[in-house]
């Protein structure tokens, strides 16, 4: 049952993404509204899928790679939808929707069977740790999209290309502000995510910190964002530098999430191709 809703959500996300990409090409406002509607419906279906999976599996569905992709995509939309309706930045969807869609499609290719839970994963700390981490990552994804939009808009203004796309992108100040806000939400979530993770690790592995690749990389990510926040607050980094840092930071997030699972191996590899 959960898979049916998942497939339906993928379809809605796909059409939502197409609609947004069409909006970028044809610049018709109606397309962005359709896109937002499709994504919202997709999100509701996706939420339903998660709830069904929770009841069917008997545990919070964030234990294998498929479930992680699905949950990450869900968290990104959870963050995006209120931002979209608050800031009314139409083009934002064109940047966020493809990311969610790609995660969902990757999820399609992975094994989706509900298996009995690995004994180590049976802990209340686990869902807390994973949910907080992914929510933090979702904000970083938003900062990433906003950062790309900033770089595009900045280069358009600098180089006097003030065409239709220039008109559709929001102002630099709003983009920079959103970048900052995403960080102020994402960073604490990541921090608490890491702390709860190490608390759980002390139960599961007997030690708070064991330098497995995932831990190391999340620490690297944490330092990147800490540096960005610090530079912002201390010496007033903003605009282009902050945008580039947000992009680099998100690449680190992706590597922590995917690269470590697929390339390196370590204690965290419960979620390897199971």
């Amino acid at each position: 049952m959960n898979l049916i809703f998942y497939y339906m959500a993928v379809v809605f996300y796909a059409f939502g993404t197409i609609s947004y990409l069409a909006y970028i090409v044809f610049l018709r406002d109606i397309l962005s509204k359709v896109g937002a509607g499709l994504l919202s419906v997709g999100f509701i279906l996706h939420t339903t899928a998660l709830i069904f999976r929770y009841y069917e599996a008997g545990y919070v569905p964030i234990t294998n790679l498929y479930e992680s992709f699905s949950f990450f995509a869900w968290a990104i939309l959870l963050v995006f939808i209120p931002v979209y309706y608050n800031y009314r930045i139409r083009v934002l969807g064109a940047f966020v929707a493809p990311i969610a869609l790609i995660l969902m499609i990757l999820g399609l290719a992975l094994p989706k069977d509900i298996l009995p839970l690995h004994p180590v994963l049976k802990s209340y700390w686990l869902p807390v740790h994973v949910i907080l981490s992914f929510l933090g990552d979702a904000f970083f994804a938003l900062a990433f999209c906003v950062g790309i939009m900033y770089l595009i808009q900045e280069s358009q203004i600098k180089s006097r290309r003030t065409g239709a796309f220039f008109m559709r992108l929001p102002s630099l100040e709003i983009l920079d502000d959103l970048n900052h806000r995403s960080l102020t939400f994402g960073f604490p979530l990541l921090t608490v995510g890491i702390i709860t993770g190490s608390v759980w690790a002390s139960y599961a592995w007997g030690s708070y910190w064991s330098w497995d690749p995932k831990e190391t990389w999340s620490l690297i990510t944490w330092f990147l964002y800490a540096a960005l926040l610090h530079q912002r607050l201390a010496i007033g980094w903003r605009g282009k530098k902050a945008a580039i840092m947000a992009i680099i930071g998100f690449l680190a997030v992706l590597f922590t999430f995917l690269g470590v699972n697929l390339v390196l191996s370590g204690l965290h590899s419960y979620s390897k191709w199971r």
Binding site: Q153, I157, K158, R160, T162, G163, A164, F166, M167, L169, P170, S171, L172, E173, I174, I235, G236, W237, R238, G239, K240, K241
Partner: protein, 433 residues
């Protein structure tokens, strides 16, 4: 019965004439009434803006109407009829409809796509309604015109882009800063160009104005206009630190704002963005400044370039808008022609006849009548009823046709009997067995 639009605008009449025939917006009652009292006029409305003075009227006959309206205008304010004639344009029927639509959609404006005109047309129409000068025809005409204007606005990008350099500056400032409300502006130099560019930014929300000039007196005068403050010219660097938007237009032959100055200022501002608008020739701001992060510099040529590109866009959009206007003109004319009584009578008859035939067939079937005689009786009975019912309204329609003001009646009959879409009626009949 005809529609006339006549008047003069910025293309046909110089301002000296326009100002003499113009009406003030709140004193329209008297002129509206006196036009309405002319024998040939059935409905009228007056649109008077700084770029145009026009009268729209529904008239009994075109020739008399034109004669009366021209007489009215030249009686007005001390303008020799000959001179007035030269500036006047007259549109009739379909052309008049097209003209009204184009005016409302801002296709006839001096700056095509400027948004104020729609509001002006709306208030002119509400005046005409208030004093009962606008009736069935102008009502419909103007409401269609508002729809056209709205469609043009939403379906084309005609009004989207700035086409003058000062509006381009506003557009850019908004894309850099978003909200301009809490932004500070520094005017370097006190020339007229500076004032113009600043004025638009200020109407778009910029609140804090500082002026600096080599001669303090000029700065003082300009600062007074904008309720701003002045600073001595040698404190320019200090002032830059507090400014988000800088407009520079000094007559200096050298750069006034240098690369190293700006590099220092932006650090002191903790990288808060700055927008330099250099409208001086020769330039005041070192162009290399644009390469500093968070600094955006546009000189007069850059602004001009953006404005020209936007004008090109706007022209492209205007042709789309004209297509919308054409379609709407056609629709309006269809409605307008339907106000003639003869086709209405014909439609009314044929609709009732269709109903009669249908019900008759049902009755035949239900009674399973075979004798020709019974059928004839029923047929005669029903057609007698239909004819008797139709007799009075049709006599009335024919009578009013001869003495004008039939539109209201025709329009009501069309609506009461849903004769509006003759095609639709035929469709429905087709579907029936």
């Amino acid at each position: 019965m005809d529609i006339i639009a006549l008047g003069l605008n910025h293309r046909t009449a110089p301002v000296e004439i326009r100002e003499r025939v113009s009406f003030s917006g709140d004193a329209l009652e008297e002129p509206l009434r006196s036009i309405l009292s002319l024998p040939s006029i059935k409905e009228d409305m007056i649109l008077s803006t700084c770029n145009r003075v026009e009268v729209y009227a529904a008239v009994r006959s075109f020739d008399e109407g034109i004669h009366d309206l021209k007489g009215f205008l030249s009686d007005l304010p001390r303008i020799p009829r000959k001179q007035l004639e030269k500036c006047l344009y007259v549109y009739r029927g379909e052309e008049a409809v097209r003209h009204v639509f184009r005016v409302a959609a801002s296709l006839d404006s001096m700056v095509v796509g400027e948004p104020q005109i729609l509001g002006q047309v709306k208030s002119a129409f509400s005046q005409a309604s208030k004093y009962h000068a606008a009736g069935t025809i102008l009502n419909r005409l103007l409401h269609r015109a508002f729809t056209v204007a709205k469609r043009v606005r939403t379906e084309t990008k005609i009004g989207n882009r700035a086409v003058s350099i000062s509006f381009v500056a506003v557009e850019l400032a908004r894309k850099i800063f978003g909200d301009l409300q809490d932004k500070a502006i520094l005017l370097v130099g006190a020339g007229e160009m500076c004032e113009l560019a600043a004025r638009h930014l200020i109407t778009h929300g910029v609140s804090r104005v500082t002026v600096t000039n080599r001669t303090p007196q000029g700065a003082q005068e300009l600062a007074q206009i904008f309720d701003g403050r002045t600073i001595p010219f040698d404190q320019l660097l200090e002032a830059l630190k507090a400014a988000d938007i800088v407009i520079s237009s000094t007559a200096s032959p050298h750069y006034v704002i240098h690369y190293s100055d700006v590099a220092r200022v932006i650090r002191a501002r903790r990288n808060r963005s700055m927008f330099f608008i250099d409208i001086a020739v020769p330039r005041d701001v070192d162009p290399r400044v644009n390469s500093i992060e968070n600094i955006y510099l546009y000189d007069i040529d850059d602004l001009q370039g953006v404005a020209e590109a936007n004008i090109k866009d706007r022209k492209k959009e205007a042709s789309k808008a004209e297509e919308i206007v054409e379609r709407e003109v056609k629709r309006f004319c269809q409605w307008y022609e339907s106000l003639e009584t003869t086709p209405t009578v014909r439609l009314l008859r044929s609709k009732l006849e269709a109903i009669r035939q249908k019900e008759l067939r049902k009755a035949y079937a239900a009674l399973s009548l075979s004798s020709e005689k019974e059928r004839t009786v029923l047929d005669a009975l029903t057609s007698a009823i239909v004819n008797k019912i139709l007799h009075d309204p049709i006599t009335l329609l024919k009578r009013v046709d001869q003495n004008s003001s039939s539109e209201i009646l025709v329009d009501s009959i069309r609506r009461l009997f849903r004769l509006e879409e003759s095609d639709a009626i035929e469709d429905r009949e087709d579907q029936e067995p």
